[in-house]
Subunit: 187 residues, 2 copies
DNA sequence: GTCTATACCGAGATAGAC
DNA sequence: GTCTATCTCGGTATAGAC
């Protein structure tokens, strides 16, 4: 019982995450999500009392997913290597980014504009990675500058993702990633 | 006749632009826009055959508005001054950006995700400014590098706007603008 | 050309049988 | 716990009087 409950709930969250990424959270109807997750529409409300609550779960899932990456990177031996791993990951995702935008940024900005309770909660999709980046810079001995350096890296990431997506040009990611790596290497 | 027609049409476009910026284009209903523009709802369809067409007009209006700024900057004597003017303008808009995001980027990304005909048309909101930036770099003697340099500036702009907005922190703009100006000055 | 009334549809959400 | 049928609301879009 508990098992299948988790399964359906999880399926709804993951499908919601996928469709929100592809078409936007607002754009993806509960009917679409339910169908794609092989769950009857009305049944969604057994797991979530409103669409907003599913959105919340999607944000959490997305964050958890990013934290898994962080843990992986944390196993690398030096802070600088960890920073490079972060940037390499952007490069690797470039096709996805050109096609659908940044998975974190897209949802964060959409929910932010939507307003309401989700707006505030979605901010962690930005702040959490920046906190991690800051920690790396601090570990590399950049002290009080670390926050600004972290903001710069994340901001460069969001910028290249937005432009690559909006202007439909994967080369933007390639060029900007190269520049960002040089910048980190030269610090 | 022609006069009042233009007035209402213009009012609808400008109000649409304002509300799309504040709440998103999808989120702003025709009823809201019409009411705010003091035009009866049903009458909207005399001027635009569908909401999509109003969206198109909004994109064009936004672009025209940006082009006015370009013309102003074009009157400055050197390409480098023009680049600084572009960046200064970001700095000046920082409060607006924190509150509602980038006027160009927000709409461009939303419409892009929406898909459809508007998706392609909205891309000019990104490509047009980048073309202008490229021209400045070319004028400053950067030859074939100009395009990449332009992309970098615009990408930095979009990044700082997104992060400042999403993380609700105006300081992001201040810091990043400073960095960007140093970068341009050192070229 | 202008406006009112309304059709129509798709969305989120609920009731209640099983 | 699970699913079907249905309600309600708000949105776009249209018909047609003036």
């Amino acid at each position: 019982m508990r098992k299948t409950q988790l399964d359906k709930r999880t399926r709804l969250i993951e499908t919601g995450m996928k469709l929100a990424y592809q078409r936007g959270f607002r754009e993806a109807s509960l009917a679409d999500i339910a169908e794609a997750a092989h769950v009857p529409v009305g049944n969604v409300y057994y797991y979530f009392k409103a669409k907003e609550e599913l959105g919340e779960a999607v944000v959490e899932r997305l964050l958890a997913q990013f934290r898994e990456l962080q843990e992986e990177w944390d196993r690398l031996s030096s802070p600088k290597e960890r920073l490079f791993a972060f940037v390499d990951n952007i490069q690797r995702s470039k096709d996805q980014i050109v096609l659908r935008g940044c998975p974190l940024g897209g949802l964060c900005l959409e929910l932010h504009k939507e307003g309401g309770a989700l707006a505030k909660k979605s901010a962690v999709l930005y702040t959490d990675p920046m906190v991690w980046l800051e920690k790396q810079f601090r570990g590399a001995g950049h002290g009080e500058d670390s926050r600004k350096l972290a903001v710069h890296v994340f901001s460069a990431f969001q910028g290249m993702a937005a432009v690559a997506y909006g202007a439909n040009d994967p080369e933007v990611v390639v060029t900007e990633v190269k520049r960002l790596k040089n910048w980190i290497a030269a610090l």
